[in-house]
Symmetry: C2
Subunit: 148 residues, 2 copies
């Protein structure tokens, strides 16, 4: 039985090969840590999760390489903390829930009908502002289930 994350890894392998970027063991470790999460992770969180098997400097370089290759994407949230997550084409278009109590960030996929409405809003705003939208993100702040 095919494991969906096997498939994910194969997609990433193909992408990196196309871009002539080597998939080394350290890079695999970092990708696995990001794939395991259900939201964007900070560099410090990734570092902790992989139990420091990849030194910080290499971790930063790895993240930069993967971002340039389009495998992961940056997310900017509270307190100037930079977070990374798998790119949309790997994990699907989604939005974020930011808890104002615990500071956590979670991914959320919204139903197609709502996503359609949202795209409609974005395109109308773009026309009105003489701006050409290529992407959008809805960030919802509030209290998560745990902190309610």
């Amino acid at each position: 039985m095919p494991n969906p994350s096997d498939n994910l890894e194969r997609q990433i392998e193909r992408r990196l090969a196309e871009q002539q970027v080597r998939l080394t063991s350290g890079r695999r470790v970092v990708i696995a840590a990001l794939a395991a999460g259900d939201g964007p992770r900070s560099v410090a969180e990734i570092h902790r999760r992989i139990r420091r098997r990849v030194p910080l400097s290499s971790l930063y370089r790895t993240l930069a390489v993967l971002e340039a290759a389009g495998v992961i994407a940056l997310h900017h949230s509270s307190k100037g903390i930079t977070r990374y997550e798998l790119a949309d084409w790997l994990r699907g278009h989604h939005h974020h829930l930011l808890c104002i109590e615990c500071g956590g960030v979670d991914d959320i996929e919204i139903p197609p009908s709502l996503e359609k409405d949202l795209r409609h809003i974005v395109s109308r705003v773009g026309v009105g502002a003489n701006f050409h939208p290529t992407d959008h993100a809805l960030e919802i702040a509030g209290l998560c289930a745990k902190c309610t």
Copy 2:
């Protein structure tokens, strides 16, 4: 004829007085710099704009105080740059346009009907995710008029 920014300053004075926070000359300078902009400003931009009359360390402290008092709000955008702007209750609820070419960030107010649709989406997403929304932000990335 009353100047709208006089009114703004009075609102801020009242708010700070309520919170027993002193409105010193340095803080006035910083607030004026933020009120003059039409989008969130980075610390470096503010520092330049006030011609270094407030040293960096004091500027950081001032921004922290104003944020705690609810007069200004943080905004997180590309490259881990932290930006500040007047709080929503002072400048009205709005969203952001992020240019992927020049890195600029601009404020945009969207028409009430679209804002209503957006609130509707947010509340439906919240219910579905067992999350209690208190605020939302639509960040639209793309090409600004200048960079098209």
